[in-house]
Symmetry: C2
Subunit: 204 residues, 2 copies
């Protein structure tokens, strides 16, 4: 295998620095100069790699989504393979929450926070945000369908509807997380949601 | 009753213009000059009314929350009095969604969007956002408790937990609403959530 070119390495370093900065400071709060400085790249060379800030952030969203889906798939096919669907979902959110707590609640979900900030008025980024959300929802639909087949999750509502609800609840919990800085409360929301996903004890 | 002073009227007009601008453009996207221009107030006089942009936005959040709770209470004690709790909640969200659709999806929930944008780093506004959220949650707890007492809503989870979940789902649905511009999908999320709040047919 040939060694990656220096320019490819710089491009990748800029994108990963972008993920860090934008997850913490948002679109408007992140300056291109900050990103370049953090990887010691001179300002003039930014446009050798990206056509505009918008094009850069669209790449950042795509890479963030790709990385996340590799991690999710590795987990459900690897160390989480023998867990129930509900336990898989709790483990995934516990992992995400730990990363936010480690940042002293400054980091957020890149997809949810950028969607609030820019989705309506920014087409290149809006498109990537929509694709990233569709991938998240497809992952959830797959998990929930599996849970419905095994009887672990109620099937009186379609998996797509439950996945949409679940995604919304997680994103809404993250809003409250930044307000109250209480990761346990966010995990409780997820656990309560999963309780609603099971057939109540009274019906068993 | 004495007539309100001119300065009180100007202050109130600035706050209501602030609600409009910030609901649409966010904290960082709203300039004080825009707000002043929209009510024909000269720039120099802003600081006669508010100590800072932060203090102004804190007042904007408080007024938005006060107005919303007057409307909510008027509805549940007035024209919505004889509806079931679930129908009351659907009517409230249908009304909110209509306002967002009328703005061509540019407006958002002031509380949710500002919480994502500034809650973690802005103490005066953060405090008002927390208070506004607590009032929303208290309203939901009251409604859900009423539904639990009448048997309309499941009571195997505490009303506080269901209210937290419901709030999170609504805020998360608004994120997707700005991405997909589909108010019917957001209303479907709310209706599906309320289906989960009932005891499934199999258990009746």
């Amino acid at each position: 295998m040939s060694r990656p070119r220096r320019s490819d390495q710089v491009r990748e370093a800029l994108i990963h620095a972008g993920i860090e900065h934008i997850s913490t400071h948002g679109y408007h709060g992140t300056g291109i100069k900050q990103v370049l400085d953090s990887v010691n790249v001179p300002k003039g060379s930014f446009y050798n790699f990206f056509g505009s800030k918008e094009a850069f952030v669209a790449e950042v969203i795509k890479t963030y989504s790709d990385d996340m889906h590799c991690q999710l798939n590795d987990f459900v096919q690897g160390s989480g393979k023998h867990l129930s669907v509900q336990k898989q979902l709790v483990a995934i959110h516990r992992f995400s929450l730990e990363k936010i707590v480690q940042s002293d609640y400054l980091r957020s979900c890149l997809i949810g926070s950028l969607s609030t900030e820019i989705a309506a008025g920014n087409s290149a980024c809006g498109e990537q945000l929509t694709l990233a959300t569709q991938r998240w929802l497809a992952f959830l639909v797959e998990r929930i369908t599996k849970g419905q087949c095994s009887g672990e999750i109620r099937d009186d509502l379609p998996a797509e509807q439950l996945a949409n609800l679940y995604w919304a609840t997680w994103q809404g919990s993250l809003i409250k997380l930044h307000m109250y800085k209480d990761s346990e409360a966010a995990l409780q929301d997820i656990k309560a949601m999963l309780t609603l996903f099971t057939v109540p004890a009274i019906a068993r």
